[in-house]
Symmetry: D2
Subunit: 374 residues, 4 copies
């Protein structure tokens, strides 16, 4: 049977955790959404020919290469998807943009905001569509939270408290890696960035920050029998001022023992409140001061077809989306943007914004004092 | 690049809620798992040519037909996937089995156990592989629960309390449908069947039941301006005796206002206990009496790579699977069974078992007294 | 300063767990409530003179005795409070009633309903005021639940699911005690009775029951090096029909590993639902189908001054009542009844009712079939 | 019957929320604990003779006065209990100390740390025993948390996150009161003080703070038809450095819509973690990294007799303490200290410490930069 949608041919660089997650999203997004393109998994690049060939077979790509430059240069590829280590994002993305490709890049966009800026500006100059992978924002429950704010159901927003805590760096015996390098690493950059993205997604621009970045595990094994000093933060905190007048705080923490995915927030408005935890991300807790006396309380709203695009995945409420479904939503939004149906959901400019926030908090922590965002 | 896996060509009958869910599973399972087959979405059947053509386009099938018999007879199709209304399951499945196809059928296998028995026996005689869609059993947390029981960590199992409650029939104004027919319908058959399947999955065979089936909304609009008497149960309950000596209860309830997916259970053993709710199905609550005094409590275990096959979907714990992921697990298990790598996870014989349990409970409710399972 | 309230002089029999709890209630109730009487802790009776003297000193009674008959006969005592073992309730209560005393008796009123009936009839004939200690009913959140039902906010009530589960008998090595005797003992009588009391408190009379009583630990150490066969149930279950048309179930379970105080219920009505757990008894979860689409969910209502008599204990919401506070509420209600300000909250007639329900369920379990309450 | 304990005669100043709570504690503490003294409610002081007389009658005091100075000077009173407005604490306490009385003072000890210091020094010079009412610290679950830290079960403590949020000031229409005065008022002083007290109770001394105090509702009705500018904070936040090397944060917030008693904390150590919420203060959530792989999770430990002094209130676990029970524990500890059986649990010196922390955070917020505690 003829398919009348144009093809969008994907070139994927990197086949780790996030590479696989993207592929899962590419597989399910076209079934769940009515996308403007037919996705074709064209070529995958990995470190060696062998690894690339295996990845192609496992992940369903037609072609494989050990040279990402070949992939980027291939005129039969429309979109370059970068899930390689952070330090390589810039070079890869600029090459892809130069070749006129759309670029989908995992977070963080680049370890340094200067690099992220160069990437954003290049993409804008070239007119290609970009996307950075902040997939927690794709949760229908975050959309509901935004709706509750936009509708005025919470009234004037007064305070925000956000956290993104995990424990994958809790062991002092975990070796020094690229994540512990000074160049843009640390818990604030890795996890606090999610907390910042969610904060701005919901409340709008942050205007000022006061930072507190702490290294709790001062040295880690260097893999050669010795240790190496850690210069990045294990915990990054900030106080915030939003343009809408609200104040708040965020924390990014990768030594939060016992926490696997605590991307949580509390929002208090003059008429209502919201509480959310990524640990149970198919729920939003909503308090309305307008409820009758003696009947007030946080409502545990379960995700359902009322909360777009949940209904695309399942017609019945309460069945729940998974992490990979969020990636499918992210991909659908991006493809709709490429197709001109909507603005880019979270483009390189947005990715740059997050890097700028991170660096401003780091600067505030290092040198002291409140810092204003540009 | 050549793909060396044999193809498994799917023919899907039915394109509603469950039809889509199956397609989502067919899309993601091959990315997540290393399946013995390459899945090909060959043909989809719907009521009309137009609907079938649209479904093919939306869901990614190469061919479409308005005649399911044509689909079943097609020698280029290996597996018939039936998500049509329950009353049609038998005829479709028998035709597919007669054509030598593997048959994947949504639950309930058939409204009457006699029909289910005919289907199971036909499949066994033909040597085809079958599967019934009890996907809640595919949750890694249920696997963990089973492991905790099998390992002896709970000790001797003493009691079980299960419920499957939703509220989609709560409105008395909801019209009379095929689900309200006497032939195998009702909350016990529709939802209680899940509670029964989970109970036997975890504790092994149920030997005796004492039933209580209640019709709470005695008549519903007939769609012609009048009403029609409802003969099926809105709530089906049973007391249970298991072969392992434990006693228990289950409830199926489709007028449980506020509940969207309350597939919950509590299990008490001589050394520990388990509590689970499908409302938060990426968690299992485990109590160990072996914990130190003053330190005992139900542990909220979050799904992670320690709980196979979670790690296939995500290498990091706490990210959570969604409902559609459970379907992908179900499909992977079925394809592995077709490939001879494992027994069928939940074949027609197992589907018959559930129908038999349902009917025995209904009989007990109608005529009174404990009833022994065959 | 002169106190113008009449004195109510208490004679307490029994100084164990419940005896102390009553004393705590007598101490706090007059501070929290404006009672019609001044409570005077007059005399306490225990097994020996020494034990009674110590109890008097510890608990604040002016006098002590080793002979409960002396206490009952004392003309200077107004109210006899019985917290002695169940088997003695009848004799003590009848003696107290004969002496014209008000009688406050811990639950169960008596192991056999025939005895409970004699006690209720004697009290009514004598015109004394009686109270049985079903203190979970005194929780303001249960009052709220009853209000939500009475107000019609839940609509027509359709189903009820109650449980009272603890684990204090979970060890097979726990010795045989008076609780394991056939005369009125078992988990249904001990714990299921609470579930039944709550069910009728909220939904009104139960008309029919179908019972299932199970002994899971068939013998227990007899304290003499041997074992003794247990004849009472470890788990007592029942299906229920209420006069209001609703159906339901309850379970009493004293081998529910990990559960310390799971007195929980779910109620589903045509317009709303309630979920409650004694594990968090300062909360009630209320679902209203009248909430806006996309905004519906169970509200976690925290106890506060809107929920009488919480405000007597604390003017600020969310501070929480404790178990002993429930006893203070129970005592206040009883004293108000003695003072003629209100009917007895839970008198011997009500205690008899619970015993009758328990025995009817036991009978149904033993002989089979639904049983109608008298 | 003779009582051989010496009497401790109480003089109470103030009969509002906290005055009543103290009286509830005085009533129940002697029943629950074996105190070194017999408590006698001697005299209560209120604004007018009429109010004082009514309070005496309602609360059970033998005498009443409209002049607190008379009460303080009365040689028949041993302990002065101050629950009057904060601004009066100093004058009352100093007079009581000068009269040689023990002094029990509600929090905050005084609006300004200089006053608190004068009170602490006067008490120490006079050798009287003092107590400030930080009753959340009396929760057995906080004792358990401290034990888990002291025992090393959490390993090295790395991070702390505390909050005390309520919503009683959320309405912009709530009038200006003494709580909005600059002299020591605000959410940080009122609620953040609890978060600070708990932080030091668990982790030991805070060495440095970085503050962020925000006024969200800038003016409030002055009660005369106009408005008055609010100078105190509605939200007070701080980053923290502890002497033990941990870092952390706290927030005090009295406009946290929907929150009635959110006194919560998360503690992460190298081997385990704790999560606590005052909203469910009979539970502590404990994560041990030493649990077996695939079996790890936060354990919901319910308060029970293993957690002293819970067993004094109830011999069975899970029955739960209430807010007023915490006050009884506080009073018991104080009386034991007066009796020389233990150090003062939270004396004026400890109260001064909290005021100093509050003021240092306020100073940091006002002038910027980290501030070291003296």
């Amino acid at each position: 049977m003829a398919r009348d949608k144009p093809k969008l041919r994907i070139g994927l660089i990197g086949t780790g955790f996030m590479g696989k997650t993207h592929v899962f999203g590419f597989a399910s997004a076209p079934r769940v959404f009515d996308l403007p393109y037919e996705i074709e998994l064209h070529t995958v690049a990995d470190i060696t020919d062998l690894a690339a060939a295996k990845a192609a077979r496992d992940l369903g790509f037609a072609h494989a290469t050990a040279d990402w430059r070949v992939l980027v240069a291939n005129p039969n590829i429309d979109l370059i998807d970068i899930t390689a280590p952070n330090a390589l994002h810039k070079e890869m993305a600029l090459a892809a943009i130069a070749a006129g490709k759309h670029v989908y890049c995992e977070k963080p966009l680049a370890p340094l905001s200067a690099d992220a800026r160069a990437m954003a500006e290049a993409a804008e100059a070239a007119g290609v569509k970009t996307q950075v992978g902040f997939n927690y924002l794709c949760n229908p429950m975050l959309g509901l939270a935004r709706d509750l704010i936009a509708s005025g159901e919470l009234g004037e927003i007064r305070s925000y408290r956000g956290v993104h805590a995990e424990d994958y760096m809790m062991e002092a015996s975990s070796p020094f890696t690229f994540r512990h390098d000074t160049a843009g690493g640390g818990a604030l950059a890795d996890l606090g960035s999610h907390a910042l993205a969610t904060a701005e997604y919901l409340l709008g621009p942050i205007e000022q920050v006061l930072g507190d970045c702490v290294t709790a595990i001062s040295e880690r094994p260097d893999g050669k029998g010795g240790t190496r000093e850690v210069e990045v933060d294990d915990i990054g905190r900030a106080f915030l001022r939003f343009a809408n007048g609200a104040s708040g705080s965020i924390e990014g923490n990768w030594i939060a023992t016992g926490r696997k995915m605590q991307h949580d927030f509390d929002i208090h408005g003059s008429k209502g409140a919201i509480a959310f935890s990524q640990e149970r991300f198919n729920e939003l807790h909503f308090y309305s001061a307008a409820d009758a006396a003696g009947r007030r309380g946080f409502r545990r709203i379960e995700a359902g077809p009322d909360h777009s695009p949940y209904g695309r995945f399942c017609v019945a409420p309460g069945h729940q989306l998974g992490f990979n479904d969020l990636k499918a939503i992210e991909i659908a939004g991006y493809l709709e943007a490429i197709g001109g149906e909507r603005p880019e959901p979270f483009n390189f400019r947005a990715g740059l914004r997050i890097q700028t926030l991170v660096e401003t908090i780091q600067l505030s922590s290092r040198e002291g004092g409140w810092r204003r965002l540009g």
